[in-house]
């Protein structure tokens, strides 16, 4: 039961943290659940310009994110399914979700939504190589080729520590980009200067919007879970109960950190935002270099 509510708890925690930084009490932790239930009861409004694409893509995105959730170690010690190169499956499923969102946005024929889709597509191109570099580097350290293997490595030497730290930073930037968090994107506005994701769902209503909000919460949880699994020294080894508890505590901590960053930093200007995202690629490259150094090359 708690596990099913985990995505919304994450979003609720981030919103609570932001509210506390702003001096407010903040909404209830499960506010997003009430929002989704309310939206499901509403009758949607479709634009006359849209086609079946608009009606179907929110559910395609939800299905893609649910499929991605199968391979991510959400509950700490093991994902539901682990196989070789599952991180490629993860990356490309995120790509499917993104493509679905962009197609839904372009379907409305609105210039605003086209703008959001264009920015989303551009910044996604910088994020994907970062993820692959991180996974390649971590996999080379552990000699494994799956997501679970990559994150369950400990830091045994200076080079491994550097790789681990750089990977953490790169993953944090990736989560900020994918989860539409500051300083990459502002999740509270859809105005031209500040938005990427929020504007793509401007025309969605009712059950479609509920599906999209669920997808967003789930994607954020997956990303946070990846980082927590990397931080957790008990991932993949040691007692399962300890690993689980530590994992959940780490996820709470990371949610608070993300909320804090959102409260203290403004979003970067669009012309320079790609440099921040490129730092994720640099982080991945540093991790790869550290791994190569450790392996005896250079």
């Amino acid at each position: 039961m708690g596990l099913a509510l985990l995505p919304w708890l994450m979003v609720g925690l981030i919103n609570r943290t932001k509210a506390r930084w702003a001096g407010r009490l903040g909404p209830p932790l499960l506010q997003s659940v009430y929002d989704v239930l309310r939206l499901c009861r509403k009758r949607p409004v479709y634009s006359e310009t849209t086609t079946a694409i608009f009606r179907l893509t929110p559910y395609v995105g939800l299905a893609a994110t649910l499929a991605a959730a199968l391979v991510v170690p959400i509950i700490g010690f093991r994902p539901l399914w682990s196989f070789s190169f599952d991180f490629i499956w993860l990356a490309y499923l995120w790509g499917l979700g993104r493509a679905a969102l962009m197609l839904g946005a372009l379907d409305t024929g609105s210039s605003f939504e086209g703008m959001g889709a264009s920015r989303e597509a551009t910044f996604a191109t910088l994020v994907e190589p970062a993820l692959l570099l991180v996974m390649g580097a971590l996999g080379a350290t552990t000699g494994t080729t799956s997501l679970m293997g990559a994150v369950s490595q400990g830091a045994h030497s200076i080079e491994a520590l550097v790789a681990w730290g750089a990977s953490l930073f790169a993953l944090l930037v990736v989560v900020q980009a994918e989860g539409a968090r500051m300083p990459v994107d502002d999740p509270t506005t859809h105005l031209e200067l500040t938005m990427i994701h929020e504007v793509m769902v401007l025309d969605h209503s009712g059950p479609e919007l509920a599906a999209i909000q669920t997808t967003a919460a789930l994607k954020l949880t997956l990303g946070v879970s990846l980082i927590a699994a990397l931080l957790n020294p008990w991932t993949g080894s040691g007692p399962a109960a300890t690993g689980l508890v530590v994992h959940l505590l780490l996820m709470v901590m990371i949610a608070v950190v993300i909320g804090t960053i959102e409260s203290l930093w403004a979003r970067f200007q669009l012309p320079v935002l790609h440099r921040y995202l490129f730092m994720a690629v640099v982080g991945g490259a540093v991790a790869l270099l550290a791994t190569t150094w450790q392996g005896g090359g250079l």
């Binding site: 310009t49 490309y92 889709a117 080729t145 190569t292």
Partner: protein, 658 residues
């Protein structure tokens, strides 16, 4: 081999009939029926080889200068023949509908249909021959037939120029190929590929030289970086089915020949593998970055061909490294990934070109800036284009994801002997990830701008979906895309005997199956999930109200305010300005309420081609200046020419030419 010879003869008869028969309907029927018959005969001959049987081989004893001509159809040739001929048949079927208006205006379709038969015949020659001269004959036949097919619209000067550009490029490649063959003939004294293998199988400076020559020729044929610029130009000029066949089928002959010579090389050197990987990666990178900014839909698809051929070459580079490092798993992953990607690319690229052709036939434009909202008026074409677009972006559950996955598995499998090599492979994988996401950008842009939203130019009218002769090839290709996406083992089953040729065998294919099987189930589960959630969502959305698109309170929105293709790609192109420079022609007043109408035009030129011609131009200037510096003495020119002639003849006589 008898079957293939009969099939070739049938195709030739069909070509002659297509030229001789009186009306277009009969000509089309002749071409289609003979291609169908040849297809059946060929598949019957070739399937046993693909099922693991022995290769078909035959030799014909002819007189000088060909001596003995041998032909052999092994698993590699069979793989390529098995899908080239059906796709040519589907292209011919598409042509019947696509060119219908021209036929109604009185054009003679005979040469066109005959050339389509000749193309199919040239495939049999290229893929079946083992004699260098016959191979070159087939190569040239395919190139010239393709050129003649491209200039269907010969009254248009731009079309003639683009086709001429293609002709010159392909003949430059031919020259290089002839040079390579001449060198090999000089070393071995024979024109047979098996004899070439004697030189190619031994590591030496000569082999490296020949490898570079062959690589350059095949790179030009298959439109690799940096010699890719003729492809988008030819594709935007040619009729849709010709572009589809060129991109999907004809230019894969370059990759086939590359693999054929790899088999002769046996165990390559490591720098060869890195070179192939490098040029594959560069082709993928440049192809996709240019594809993201094109406004002509067919040019976009042409650049995307360069990208996909680059991805296949990355797979082959991985296989080369596997051959060099003695890693059968790596060889299997690389070869299977590359060949599966070639097959997948043929499937979805032809589909996309057919859909683009349907759009052109309906609206008379393929300019993204003028299209929009076509999904409502051409639903079948639109949905089929979507299937192709998702496949080419490598998005699961379509087939492009499966073949790219195999290339990833080769790059990220940590089978390299050293950590530096491993880091290089991981970097290549990251580049492939970048290419994948940019390709998603390009394809979402192409589909979204052309088919979604509202029409951007009210002057463009459309005539709805194309006829069944055009929809059937599209549908069949889409079915192939979905099939190979959900069950890639079907495609892998045909590639298995090819991998055996590379001495990889069971251990290697086990690695491929290990990688593919969990993902096959994952993709099927994903499709089930999408269908279930889609049905649930559809039910939840019943009883919805309809209204206009939310314009944030602005009530006078019009379709011209939508994001266009160039606006969509603008942020991306600005970040990567150095790779694809833009040219802006701007006349804007800068005021919020401008007094007069303004003008903005954005062009993305092919910087690679521009640079090549700039260098050539500077070389030509140097040459002209040097030639001008030689003083002109007409009295002595005759004597000098005579001396040169005598020296040349003397050299030839000394060299032993009879």
């Amino acid at each position: 081999m008898l079957g293939l010879t009969i099939a070739g003869a049938v195709l030739l008869v069909g070509a002659l009939c297509a030229l001789a028969l009186p009306n277009n309907r009969a000509r089309a029927a002749a071409a289609l029926s003979t291609q169908g018959l040849a297809l059946v005969i060929t598949l019957g001959s070739v399937f046993p080889v693909l099922a693991g049987g022995p290769a078909l081989a035959e030799s014909w004893a002819l007189s000088y200068p060909l001596d003995v001509v041998s032909g052999e159809v092994d698993a590699l040739s069979s793989f390529f023949i098995a899908w080239s001929l059906p796709m040519t048949l589907l292209g011919t079927l598409y042509a019947v509908g696509y060119l219908q208006r021209s036929f109604e205006e009185g054009r003679n379709g005979g040469p066109h249909f005959a050339l389509l038969n000749i193309i199919a015949l040239s495939f049999l020659i290229i893929y079946g021959s083992r004699h260098a001269i016959i191979f070159l004959l087939g190569w040239e036949l395919a190139a010239v037939s393709a050129w003649l097919l491209v200039i269907w619209d010969y009254k248009n000067q731009k079309v003639r120029f683009s086709a001429f550009n293609y002709l010159v490029s392909t003949h430059v490649g031919l020259l290089v190929l002839v040079a390579a063959f001449m060198y090999l003939h000089g070393q071995t004294g024979s024109m047979d590929f098996a004899a070439f293998g004697r030189t190619l199988g031994v590591s030496s400076g000569g082999r490296s030289f020949v490898f570079l020559l062959l690589g350059a020729s095949f790179a030009l044929k298959s439109a690799f970086f940096p010699v890719h610029s003729w492809l988008p130009r030819a594709h935007s000029a040619a009729p849709a089915h010709v572009s589809a066949l060129m991109s999907g089928v004809i230019h894969k002959a370059g990759l086939f020949a590359f693999l054929r010579f790899t088999l002769l090389i046996g165990e390559p050197e490591e720098w060869m593998g890195w070179l192939v990987l490098l040029f594959g990666a560069l082709s993928a990178l440049f192809g996709v970055v240019y594809a993201a900014s094109q406004r002509d839909l067919k040019r976009l698809l042409g650049y995307s061909s360069t990208e996909n051929v680059g991805i296949a070459a990355m797979g082959f580079g991985v296989a080369y490294l596997g051959l060099c490092w003695d890693q059968p798993a790596l060889v299997a992953l690389g070869i299977t990934g590359g060949l599966l990607h070639i097959l997948n690319h043929a499937l979805f690229k032809c589909l996309l070109f057919y859909a683009a052709g349907a759009v052109y036939r309906s609206t008379h434009t393929v300019d993204l800036e003028r299209l929009g909202g076509l999904l409502r008026r051409m639903p079948r074409t639109g949905w089929l284009f979507l299937v192709g677009a998702l496949a080419i972006a490598g998005i699961p559950p379509m087939n492009g994801f499966m073949s790219e996955l195999l290339v990833y598995a080769g790059l990220l499998g940590q089978t390299a002997p050293g950590s530096v090599e491993n880091a290089a492979l991981v970097s290549a994988a990251a580049l492939l990830g970048f290419v994948g996401s940019v390709s998603a950008l390009a394809m979402v842009r192409a589909f979204g701008v052309a088919f979604l939203g509202s029409p951007r130019d009210s002057a463009v009218t459309d005539h709805g979906d194309p006829p069944a002769t055009m929809l059937l090839p599209m549908g069949l290709h889409a079915a192939g895309v979905v099939l190979l996406g959900l069950a890639p083992s079907v495609g892998v089953a045909f590639i298995r005997p090819v991998v055996v040729l590379f001495h990889s065998g069971a251990a290697g294919m086990a690695a491929v199956d290990d990688v593919l099987s969990p993902l096959q189930w994952a993709c099927r589960g994903l499709v089930v999930g999408i269908v279930v959630l889609g049905l649930v969502g559809w039910r939840l959305g019943r009883g919805a109200r309809r209204h206009v698109t939310w314009g944030c309170g602005y009530t006078a929105a019009n379709p011209r305010m939508q994001y266009t293709g160039s606006s969509f790609s603008q942020p991306f192109v600005e970040i990567f300005e150095s790779l694809s420079p833009q040219r802006w022609r701007v006349k804007l007043s800068g005021k919020i309420f401008p007094p007069a109408s303004g003008h903005l035009e954005v062009h993305v030129a092919d910087a690679v081609e521009g640079r090549i011609f700039e260098v050539l131009g500077r070389g030509e200037q140097l040459f002209v200046r040097a030639a001008a510096a030689i003083p002109e003495q007409p009295r002595y020119a005759f004597g000098a020419g005579l001396v040169v002639l005598v020296v040349l003849v003397g050299l030839l006589v000394a060299g032993g030419v009879p």
